[in-house]
């Protein structure tokens, strides 16, 4: 089975280029990238009509609510949402109920994903049992069962003894640990970033400094243990110098950011709109600017959706009591394209953060448009305008902050291992 994608604008994040050309896919892999006019034969030919063809998105940190809360999101619904959003790999979070902290639960997840999801699913597992920060999980067994990284998600391991042992043990197995950088003493009870807006709304705020404090601590622990470490979301200007230093000093550290923190700021909460309640909370415009800059420069490595489904019941509450998080699989690309349209980042650099870097960090072959790479592809029109109607989302939960937003960028097709997963509407 071979497929030839012709007349495409090829986005190659590895080479940092975009050019006109064709792509030949055979046996689930990219066979050749063709720039000339002489095209090889193929069983199937897809005319990309001059639109973009890029390596599929690897979304690092997706919450699928199985096990425990399948009414919020299942592997089937998340997989459909991912396919519609150009996400070809979901790297899933273990903050389910129960937490994914044993090889048995992990196997359940892997099986459910294989049965139901049209896109690839790579699970992460909890770093400590029950995500309680007391005892480390069976990191070895979990890794053998397919866990690609270890994290307690938004629960910070406060006991540094426990944390350092877990990092040391993970290091011996070459396992990646993902940390949530919020100093919990400061952030406890807060639901917005402190400052004028928080005070005007009378909402408890957390200083942006809580992020830097937690990052500083984690960097010290990484220096101590040699662990492979990824900070899930860096969203404040003050944390960036610490990240720069850690990288300059040769520590094995990378960092991510959610698209929401790059495209929205604290004022979007407006009159207590709980769909804008995120963890960490939305930041000031200055912090948003700094994070965009850091993504463009490559200091922040990974751009993700932090897809967090919440049902209406958990969101339709007073702001302080409402659940945190937003769905993002389907809006990740069009929201990220706001940065492209604002001329803050070019498309190869954008896909470096969306596809290439997360793949590299997890040791995957995906994320590239080169011969030999898996044929995980997204075909999209970066300019197509639309107004998002949350009722059209494939996710079971529709808690998006972009309801009614004007966005640009439509996914025209998604392929996983050369096979189309595009829904025919």
């Amino acid at each position: 089975m071979s497929t030839l994608f012709t007349n495409a604008r090829l986005i190659d994040p590895e080479a940092g280029t975009e050019r006109r050309g064709a792509l030949l896919v055979e046996g689930g892999h990219v066979k050749a990238v063709i720039e000339g006019t002489e095209l090889p034969e193929a069983r199937e030919v897809i005319d990309c009509r001059g639109k973009c063809l890029a390596p599929g998105i690897v979304d690092l940190g997706v919450k699928v609510s199985e096990p425990g809360e399948r009414h919020k999101e299942s592997f089937a619904s998340a997989g459909r949402a991912a396919a519609a959003g150009g996400v070809t790999t979901m790297v899933t979070r273990p903050d389910t109920s129960p937490a994914i902290d044993t090889p048995e639960t992990l196997e359940f997840v892997v099986r459910r994903a294989r049965e139901d999801s049209p896109v690839r699913v790579l699970p992460m597992a909890a770093l400590t049992k029950g995500r309680e920060g007391r005892e480390m999980t069976e990191i070895g067994f979990l890794k053998d069962a397919g866990a690609v990284a270890f994290t307690d998600c938004d629960r910070v391991v406060t006991d540094t003894k426990v944390y350092s042992r877990a990092l040391t043990y993970a290091h011996s197995l070459g396992a990646l640990v993902m940390g949530h950088v919020q100093e919990p003493g400061l952030s406890n009870g807060a639901c917005v970033t402190s400052g004028k807006f928080a005070s005007l709304r009378g909402l408890p705020g957390v200083s942006p400094m809580a992020e830097r404090m937690a990052l500083d601590r984690d960097i010290a622990l990484v220096e101590m243990t040699g662990a492979r470490y990824h900070a899930d979301q860096i969203t404040t200007a003050r944390a960036l110098p610490a990240l720069t230093r850690a990288k300059t000093n040769g520590l094995d550290i990378t960092a991510g950011v959610s698209v929401h923190h790059l495209t929205l700021n604290e004022l979007d909460v407006a009159d207590y709109r709980s769909f804008f309640k995120l963890k960490p909370p939305l930041r000031s415009e200055e912090d948003r600017e700094a994070a965009v800059e850091a993504l463009a420069s490559g200091l922040i490595d990974v751009l993700c959706s932090m897809h967090t489904p919440q049902d209406e019941e958990s969101k339709r509450l007073p702001f302080e009591e409402a659940a945190s998080g937003a769905v993002g699989l389907e809006t990740l690309l069009p929201a990220a394209l706001r940065l492209y349209h604002a001329e803050r980042i070019d498309l190869p650099a954008l896909f470096r953060a969306l596809s290439l870097n997360p793949s590299k960090r997890l040791g995957l072959e995906t994320g590239r448009l080169a011969a030999g790479a898996p044929a995980d592809l997204v075909w999209f029109d970066p300019d197509a305008p639309f107004v998002l109607d949350r009722a059209t989302l494939r996710s079971k939960s529709r808690n998006t902050p972009f309801d009614g937003a004007r966005l640009q960028g439509r996914v025209l097709g998604t392929w996983v291992a050369g096979r189309s997963v595009t829904e025919t509407a």
Binding site: S194, G205, P318, F319
Partner: protein, 318 residues
């Protein structure tokens, strides 16, 4: 016919002219109340429900009295006791109440923004009687009326707000209202009780009482909540009183005719010296309570007027 809102959720959305209209009506009712001539037909036929999700004696009594003086049918619901314990959400409670077709809903809730949320789900007029640390508009209005009556004007005054500003909805609403009316505001508090971003509020900020009170016309004290007294935000009650409690020595830095206000209930000996609170030449604390009823009468009258106009309008177009 200046005041055009469906609800009274906060001071923030009000125009200075709307504030003036509210205060003028309230002043009128203050006079009628003193003469015992409050008109019983203004809210006749309307149902007022007081929903207090947080304990309050004086505010609830004030709203109840205001409604009754104007002839409304008033019902009090103690919300901690009922639905919340049974796990009903705020929105479900709102929808249930809405089905009983009240006209005026007076709501107090411990969460900021909760009254806004509730107001989106009901067909009646909603009055915010205090939501979390957000707003307490009728308190700010009654403070404004008290100041206007004592000082003869509500602009170009130097006004100090002192105490636990960070956790105070009274302070938020007052900062908003007094700022809109073009007064000079001075906030005085220990830095731990000052809200974040306060420098951007367009006010002067002090952590020293004597410096902050210099030549002010009005001294507004805030209540210090018991749970803030034990080492979390301030070292102790006695150190707080020593540095921030209003006594004669500190008050001497204000203008000679400065008035002293407090939203109540007071902690005598914590934020205010008892003799100052009782000094009839300086303290207007009792007057504040009296104006509270008048302001709430005015607010409900204007909201009822708009509600009736809206209903007639709907019928006319239907």
């Amino acid at each position: 016919m200046t005041f055009r809102h469906r609800h009274l959720l906060g001071i923030e959305p009000l125009h200075p002219l709307e504030i003036t209209e509210l205060l003028d009506r309230a002043d009128h009712y203050a006079t009628l109340n003193r003469e015992g001539r409050a008109p019983r037909d203004v809210l006749a036929g309307l149902t007022q429900i007081n929903m207090f999700f947080e304990n309050s004696t004086r505010t609830q009594a004030s709203f109840e009295l205001a409604g009754k003086r104007l002839g409304a049918d008033v019902m009090n619901m103690a919300m901690q006791a009922s639905s919340l314990k049974k796990g009903e959400t705020l929105i479900d409670t709102a929808l249930t109440l809405n089905a009983m077709r009240p006209d005026l809903l007076v709501v107090r809730h411990p969460n900021s923004g909760a009254v806004d949320l509730l107001a989106q789900k009901v067909n009646c007029a909603v009055l915010n009687a205090g939501d979390g640390r957000h707003e307490h508009p009728t308190q700010a209005l009654l403070d404004a009326l008290t100041i206007r009556r004592a000082k003869g004007r509500l602009h170009r005054l130097s006004i100090a707000i002192c105490g636990d500003i960070a956790h105070s909805r009274v302070a938020r609403s007052n900062i908003m209202l007094l700022g809109k009316m073009e007064n000079r505001l001075r906030l005085i508090a220990p830095p731990t009780l000052m809200p974040s971003g306060v420098a951007e509020f367009g006010v002067e900020v002090f952590d020293d009482m004597e410096e902050g009170l210099k030549d002010v016309d009005v001294v507004m004290m805030l209540r210090l909540q018991k749970e803030r007294m034990d080492g979390g935000f301030i070292p102790s009650e006695r150190e707080y009183f020593h540095r921030y409690g209003l006594d004669a020595a500190k008050l001497a830095h204000a203008k000679d005719d400065a008035i002293v206000m407090h939203p109540g209930p007071m902690n005598r000996g914590v934020e205010i010296d008892g003799t100052i609170a009782d000094d009839i030449n300086r303290s207007v604390i009792q007057e504040q309570v009296e104006m509270g009823v008048a302001v709430r009468m005015a607010a409900m009258e204007l909201l009822a007027r708009n509600l009736r106009a809206e209903r007639t309008g709907t019928e006319a177009t239907a």
